[in-house]
Symmetry: C2
Subunit: 210 residues, 2 copies
């Protein structure tokens, strides 16, 4: 969970102004392009106050998104361990989050993400900077292949969230986690480590020059 | 495409009243539970007028959803032919629709579907009655397995639409159809016809009684 710092602001207007400015900055400039200094200027406060209220830029972004969890704390745990079962572990973890009380906030985030181009861009920055980038750093994939592989993973997991929690298509919506882990785990495993023939340009065979 | 009948109403208010009543009925009672007679009564018109304006219940539903295409016309074409390539054909067809001008209407439908519980229920009725039911009727799957298999297909395709057209996660959002067919086609093929060990309760081995 995102830990509350215990240093909640004396002035909620200031805090809200920072969050509103941060949302605009992250959506317009992207996560990397938005700086705490710029956000502070936009909100008319000192950068030190932003750090005081929110800590790091990651934490500010999570607060701006009303994210119920911190992917930076959870993802390393899920990705550690047996790489042959990473697909199953990812699906089981994903379901455990969405089936928990945090799932309601997840549906709210997804609803908000889809509601306009602007909110979709903000959500994309969240997914890319807070989730996919960490997965790429922690899972040993060829760097040239990693971006496509993780975006394929994102497509299946986004669709699982849509089908199970938003549109609620049966029997998937009521299926046990075990059933879905068995069905979808291998899909994720293949997207991360499997043979994706036809996607990558093949290297020339060893005797190509001969 | 949904063919316009050429019999557009003289009174747009009546037509809109029928559509509004139809949306409520389909969302509240489901596609099967909502009848043209009931919808006509709710809109204060004769059932014959509903048939006159919209034709069948399917066509009324498509009009109520602002569906840019008629799955009843398209799905049989896609599913005919070589069953070993059904996954690739489904992905290629899905991309051809979303990459076409109809894709904008698809994004609008998806946005609307996600915006509330009510619209999600309406969209689910659309997906189930207009798409998944037809797929189940046309593809030879064991009846006990078909509902889960088609809802898994729906999860991957919904996620593909979300990742590529709504959230726009790169490089998936800009990838060529060929790349995505090669990456995602085998996932769909496995969901439709593949080994989903661990999902179905295994039959007892032949010597279980001994």
């Amino acid at each position: 969970m995102v830990r509350r710092t215990g240093r909640r602001p004396g002035n909620p207007d200031t805090r809200d102004a920072i969050l509103a400015t941060a949302r605009t900055a992250f959506a317009e400039k992207g996560y990397d392009g938005a700086s705490i200094r710029h956000i502070a200027t936009g909100a008319g406060v000192d950068p030190a106050l932003v750090h005081h209220y929110f800590g790091t830029k990651d934490k500010l972004f999570l607060a701006a998104m009303n994210a119920p969890l911190d992917p930076g704390e959870l993802i390393p745990e899920v990705l550690a361990g047996d790489q042959d079962a990473i697909g199953e572990r990812l699906v089981r973890f994903f379901l455990s989050i969405w089936d928990s009380p945090a799932g309601k906030a997840g549906v709210a985030m997804l609803r908000s993400a889809v509601s306009s181009e602007w909110t979709a861009k903000l959500f994309r920055e969240f997914v890319v900077s807070q989730v996919l980038r960490r997965v790429r750093q922690l899972v040993p994939m060829p760097p040239a292949e990693a971006p496509m592989r993780v975006s394929l993973v994102a497509s299946q997991l986004a669709g699982l969230a849509m089908a199970r929690y938003v549109i609620k298509i049966e029997p998937l919506a009521s299926a046990s986690p075990d059933v879905l882990v068995a069905a979808i785990g291998p899909t994720i495993q293949r997207y991360v480590f499997g043979d994706l023939s036809g996607i990558w340009p093949s290297p020339p065979p060893p005797d190509a020059a001969g």
